[in-house]
Symmetry: C2
Subunit: 343 residues, 2 copies
């Protein structure tokens, strides 16, 4: 392994001079600089990252903290897109990304403690936000540079967030169904401890209320971000004596489960049941029928989060503690009523 000393010796200068050449120190003569650079090239010198960060106290590395259980996330295709957004931005800025997954709740805190207190990374990006998230508490207490993709609950007002307006998004989705003539609309939600589930539920309820429609608790089903979850929700809802004519579904993968179950049972979408969901992954366009979905700007969510985090780390001024990425409802066949239904 060739070190700064080896270069110094070969160039007949001191280690500090070599160090200065590497970091483009202003008052270093062009000659020495050129000579040292040539020798570095010849000897294949590369600075030792660990030694550098030991003294500089920065790592030029960010951590991505995967939600637990990570399985769901990976299965959800929009994760790849999110990752791509994060990676593009941070690579461009010269930062590396560390991917970490925790297994248990305790392990989650331990992992982040190791990264934060062990000065392993300069900042973290949190994916998915739960109500009363202990991780957010931990990071907040220590003032560690971090940004959340999602919304922090009210006890964490000063947490940096990149999020969608999920209340509005769900409102829009529900309004759309109402505009198609539906009056009996159900909601298939995700895990109740996620702020995401909570927000979308609010938007759904708000739209119903504004339209003077009543929400019925048996038309609201909670589950996971998994296909099976959609399948189960569908089974339950279709077994009700009084069924909704349309469904707002928390996630495309879940909607796919609903769609699949309906098809198996011989129901037609949108004729028997209309569907609108969220995230607009490739899958939703490819389903048959194609699923109407709210595009949440996944790539931009990741890209912006990474950008915001770097701004904090580099102590640049941050104007807003919460950045809202715009959403857009993409209407497809799954929610277009040919003949609007009446209750």
């Amino acid at each position: 392994m060739v070190t700064i000393k080896d270069i110094a010796k070969a160039a007949g200068v001191s280690p500090s001079t070599v160090s200065r050449v590497v970091s483009n120190h202003p008052r270093i003569s062009k000659e020495t600089s050129d000579k040292v650079k040539r020798i570095m090239e010849e000897m294949g010198y590369h600075p030792n990252v660990m030694a550098k960060s030991l003294v500089s106290k920065t790592t030029r590395t960010l951590a991505i903290l995967l939600p637990r259980p990570a399985e769901e996330m990976f299965q959800d295709f929009f994760f790849g897109e999110l990752l791509r957004g994060i990676l593009t931005q941070s690579t461009r800025a010269g930062y590396d990304m560390l991917l970490t997954a925790a297994t248990s709740e305790q392990d989650e805190i331990d992992t982040v403690a190791r990264l934060v207190l062990g000065r392993r990374v300069d900042g973290v990006i949190l994916l998915s936000s739960r109500v009363n998230d202990p991780l957010i508490d931990y990071l907040n207490e220590r003032d560690f540079p971090s940004v959340l993709i999602g919304r922090a609950d009210s006890s964490h007002e000063n947490m940096l967030c990149v999020d969608n307006d999920n209340v509005q998004a769900a409102f829009d989705a529900t309004r759309h169904l109402i505009s198609q003539g539906h009056e009996r609309i159900g909601f298939v939600s995700g895990p109740p401890n996620l702020t995401l589930s909570h927000d979308r539920m609010q938007g759904y309820l708000k739209a119903l209320e504004e339209a003077g429609l009543k929400a019925r608790s048996e038309w609201i089903v909670e589950g996971e971000f998994l296909q099976e979850s959609g399948y189960r929700a569908m089974s339950f809802i279709m077994s009700l004596p009084e069924r909704p004519t349309a469904l707002v579904v928390i996630d495309d993968v879940v909607a796919f489960g609903v769609l699949r179950g309906l098809t198996e049972l011989g129901y037609k979408v949108p004729k028997d049941l209309s569907i609108v969901s969220f995230n607009n992954i490739t899958l939703s366009e490819l389903a048959s029928p194609p699923i109407s979905s709210v595009d949440i700007g996944t790539y931009q969510l990741g890209y912006t989060a990474s950008q915001l985090l770097l701004r904090i780390i580099q102590e640049e001024p941050v104007h807003q503690r919460r950045i809202v990425i715009p959403h857009k409802l993409v209407v497809r066949d799954s929610s277009i009523s040919i003949a609007p239904k009446r209750s």
Copy 2:
């Protein structure tokens, strides 16, 4: 930031004793150990990762080198599953994962040089293998611990690989179509510089040859791992005066593009064209009709690669330089002939 010295001072021992306690050195008295541990707990001590790796010359970090362009990979849903396999195993072993993407070819070498020569990571996992890959040369020359997910070409015999038997997999897929009565079978391939494309092409050709069927060059189309690529391939093939009755497609996403195009044009699958593809992502089961696909054990591919790499790093004996993960053809509606066709 609380360091080993602070603990030493507070406990009235020397820094080395604290270091020994941290690393569970055998000959340290239970009393001091307990006392030091208690104080560490109280003061919230966590070892500085950088300082530790500077002296130990290990980082307990592995790099995942994303293929370029990474976009394709991310869009391909099986990437998430692969990542999950890698992450599960390495997290279990106490290693962190660094995710890196390069932009240009030169940048690719620079990136890996920085990681390798800068002692940033202990090993790398390469995703996707190209013919004559300069990265593999680079890593090989320096004897740097690395594992390739895929097959290295013949000039890199000693590269560690975790792979499928892609020749056999494509052979199986093609045989299946032949057994369904097809005699005119086309192949939609991926980028020609990937060993993967090459291997699957070989298997396809071999199956045709064994069955005494002739391969026709206009029935073989190369593209990317993208849906649009499948769409284009479909357009081309369906515009031929003499068309195949079945298609082997390099990847599920591409097959999806083919399927989608066919549906748009009013063709029926499998009646007008049968399809078999590879990877068996969730999508293939969900398509209509569901797509027959070769399951390549994606999770296991990632898990095993990570395991093998750690074995190398820890200098444990490695019995085989190439581990083959078994594949399995999952037959679905897209390739089941009700009425076998004759040319």
